[in-house]
């Protein structure tokens, strides 16, 4: 369903048309070049258009346009320092916390410009949750970790409501069975994989619309990683998920679309199968075949 949406709905067909006609593949990224593939979708939920990000004088993101549909998992891949995390952090304005960061272009969430003056950043972050590379539970109890967001936003009318939210969130994050007898133990006492699932539970407890994940498994062992990946697959039913990952296998396993970033530019974005089996851009091919990165 999503696959059809994303691959067949390319509005920007110019580049791929050229390629289909057997034009030589571009070897280098040209200034202001268009991305290869299909950055635009039919029914976009999140739309980033011509986004540029600067850290002081350095430009970290160059003219990136990308749309994200509902209920899809899109993976952002690319070598270190390519700007994929920076782009991710634009989507919930976490870059605001960095004084020198400056964002240009428009990013629309459900037709609303998130960098507009009328957009409240706290409300935005409640709608766009984020899971970080290193599990970062609060040094509080498991219960309080999950209940923190709902308490902040006043999502529960009473204690029973809050209990309900905490339990369902932990359940959705696949952690409830492991911790239900020790909800009031410290969240930092859990194993790394459990901590990361606790962070996911904390994120979904505020019922966001989109979840951003910044290399959520890079600090975890393969078993914990597998659990998180299964979880991502389940979460797709309710949320749009943008995941940054260094593992191409992971991107292939969990995502429907994959976007390849290189030196701040979005080089290629397309259905995951297509990117990994038949990359259109030379740089993408070099990266996924392991020639660099």
């Amino acid at each position: 369903m999503v696959r059809n949406l994303t691959t067949d709905s390319a509005l920007d067909g110019a580049a791929s048309d050229d390629l289909e006609q057997g034009a030589p593949r571009p070897h280098r990224v040209l200034p202001n070049s268009e991305s290869v593939g299909s950055p635009f979708v039919k029914d976009p939920y999140f739309q980033a258009h011509s986004v540029n990000v600067f850290y002081g004088e350095t430009q970290a993101i160059k003219n990136v346009s990308l749309e994200i549909a509902r209920n899809e998992v899109i993976a952002l891949i690319g070598p270190s320092g390519c700007g994929k995390s920076t782009f991710l952090r634009c989507l919930n304005r976490m870059n605001d916390t960095i004084d020198s960061a400056r964002v240009e272009g428009t990013i629309m969430l459900d037709q609303q410009d998130i960098y507009d003056r009328s957009m409240d950043v706290v409300a935005l972050r409640a709608r766009v949750g984020m899971v970080f590379q290193k599990p970062n539970p609060f040094p509080k109890s498991i219960y309080d970790n999950v209940a923190y967001g709902p308490r902040l936003h006043g999502l529960a009318q009473n204690r029973a409501d809050l209990d309900e939210i905490v339990h369902t969130s932990l359940d959705k994050a696949g952690l409830l069975g492991e911790v239900k007898d020790r909800l009031h133990d410290s969240g930092t006492g859990l194993s790394g994989g459990q901590q990361q699932r606790l962070c996911i539970a904390r994120t979904i407890a505020v019922s966001p619309e989109v979840i951003l994940m910044d290399e959520p498994c890079s600090a975890l062992d393969p078993i914990a990683t597998a659990k998180i990946e299964d979880l991502i697959d389940e979460l797709r039913e309710n949320y749009a998920i943008v995941i940054v990952t260094h593992s191409m296998q992971q991107a292939a396993r969990v995502s429907q679309r994959t976007a390849y970033f290189h030196l701040g530019e979005l080089i290629e974005v397309d259905g995951t199968d297509r990117v990994f089996t038949n990359p259109q851009h030379r740089l993408t091919e070099d990266y996924i075949t392991g020639r660099f990165g």
Partner: protein, 427 residues
């Protein structure tokens, strides 16, 4: 690996290990030297100060003659309060020593006990008027010179002109010892009284209370202001030339000599704001200014040490910046903030120079009842006593130092306990 390479490695290894052993020995020696100084310091202070914990007292058989203590003869409180108690004490002493005849001897025998003795008797009479006209056994403090004699600080071998106690007085004291009328008791004056010209009556209560009031003012002012400044600079202030300037200045202020703060306090708090001189409130404010840079710098360091991941976690679930700071950053930084604050307070407690400038060096007998009343502080009291010529003030100086060190020790203990408590809650 060829043989000569192996030899070279073995040789260099031996040299390297020797160097490491030497280095460790240097470090150990340095620690030992430091410890040695500390032990010598404590031992000296203790040796000098412990004897001040006891004070010589004399038990006098006093006949409370109605003629002397009740001049109006109506036994009213007013009349008893205006009685001549000094003569009663002197008579009591004269009766103990039959050889006391002339005025000079009477004066010399009167100098055996503290000038406070007549007040002790007066208090006793006012509390129990029915003892007028009876014989009582009255315990009075011995004078400081006799106290020193009893504690063995007077060299009896010296010529009489070289001592503060005459041969006659020594003979009287020996007689008192024989009669079992003179002995050492716990020195309650040291802990119960304010300052006095007479060493046997001088106490540190006034200075202690002055220090407490001062620290109270310092904490109430420096802690909230310092933490608020640190939080603002660290979490909310934009990074620009102005905040850089402020940061540089805060660091510089931490190094300004403390007496300069005293001058500032004199000019601003006393001359301009007309706050009372010698008052703990002024001292507290000056010490607050003095400790503010320390509090700010340590609080900033503690806030900086909070992992950014916690901040991000809170922001990402939709906490505002203020909520993030107050619900996560400050609680996590609290142990460090408290440690810095208490170390700053400990420094303030030992500070003397700025207090000299604002008049807290005055001779104040009364124990202050509040931060607006004239007072002195423990380190200033040490300074004042160390400056006094009487032999008996030497041991009292050491005793005051012991109390000051005990106070500091308690504060550091509080810092450790608070840190541990907060760390347990948040880890």
């Amino acid at each position: 690996m060829s043989a000569n390479v192996r030899n070279a490695v073995a040789l260099s290894l031996r040299r390297r290990y020797a160097r490491e052993r030497r280095f460790r020995a240097y470090g150990f020696a340095a620690v030992m030297v430091g410890l040695l100084f500390l032990v010598v310091f404590f031992a000296t202070i203790m040796e000098n100060g412990v004897s001040a914990l006891r004070q010589t007292e004399v038990v006098l058989p006093v006949f409370v003659s109605a003629a002397d203590v009740d001049p109006k003869g109506d036994a009213s409180r007013e009349s008893l309060a205006s009685g001549d108690y000094e003569i009663v004490i002197r008579d009591a002493l004269a009766r103990l020593f039959v050889d006391v005849r002339n005025r000079q001897d009477k004066r010399a025998v009167g100098a055996l006990v503290s000038s406070e003795s007549s007040f002790v008797l007066r208090e006793a009479v006012l509390a129990n008027p029915h003892i007028v006209g009876t014989q009582i056994e009255l315990r009075v403090p011995a004078s400081a010179n006799i106290d020193m004699l009893i504690k063995g600080n007077v060299d009896r071998g010296l010529d009489a002109s070289q001592r503060t106690v005459s041969d006659q007085q020594i003979a009287w004291v020996d007689e008192l010892v024989r009669l079992n009328r003179i002995y050492l008791r716990f020195n309650s004056a040291l802990f119960g009284n304010g300052d006095s010209r007479d060493p046997e009556l001088a106490g540190i209560r006034g200075a202690f209370m002055g220090s407490i009031y001062m620290l109270l003012v310092t904490v109430l002012f420096a802690f909230p202001v310092g933490v608020a400044a640190a939080v603002y600079l660290e979490e909310f202030a934009p990074r620009n030339r102005w905040t850089d300037l402020i940061e540089v200045n805060i660091n510089n202020l931490a190094a300004v000599p403390s007496i300069v703060y005293g001058l500032l306090g004199l000019a601003v708090f006393i001359n301009w704001m007309s706050l009372p001189r010698s008052a703990p409130v002024v001292g507290g404010l000056v010490l607050a200014l003095l400790t503010l840079p320390v509090v700010i710098i340590s609080a900033r360091a503690a806030i900086k040490a909070v992992p950014p991941s916690i901040r991000e976690a809170a922001l990402a679930v939709g906490a505002s910046q203020v909520q993030t700071v107050f619900q996560h950053v400050i609680p996590l930084a609290m142990p460090g903030i408290l440690t810095g604050a208490i170390i700053g307070m400990a420094r303030a407690l030992g500070e003397t120079a700025p207090l000299l400038m604002i008049g807290m060096v005055a001779f104040i007998v009364d124990v202050p009842g509040g931060p607006m009343e004239p007072a002195t502080a423990l380190p200033v009291q040490v300074y004042l006593w160390a400056d006094s010529p009487e032999r008996a003030f030497v041991e009292r100086t050491s005793a005051a130092i012991i109390v000051l060190l005990g106070f500091l020790f308690l504060m550091n203990l509080a810092a450790v306990l608070l840190r541990r408590r907060f760390e347990r809650t948040w880890r």
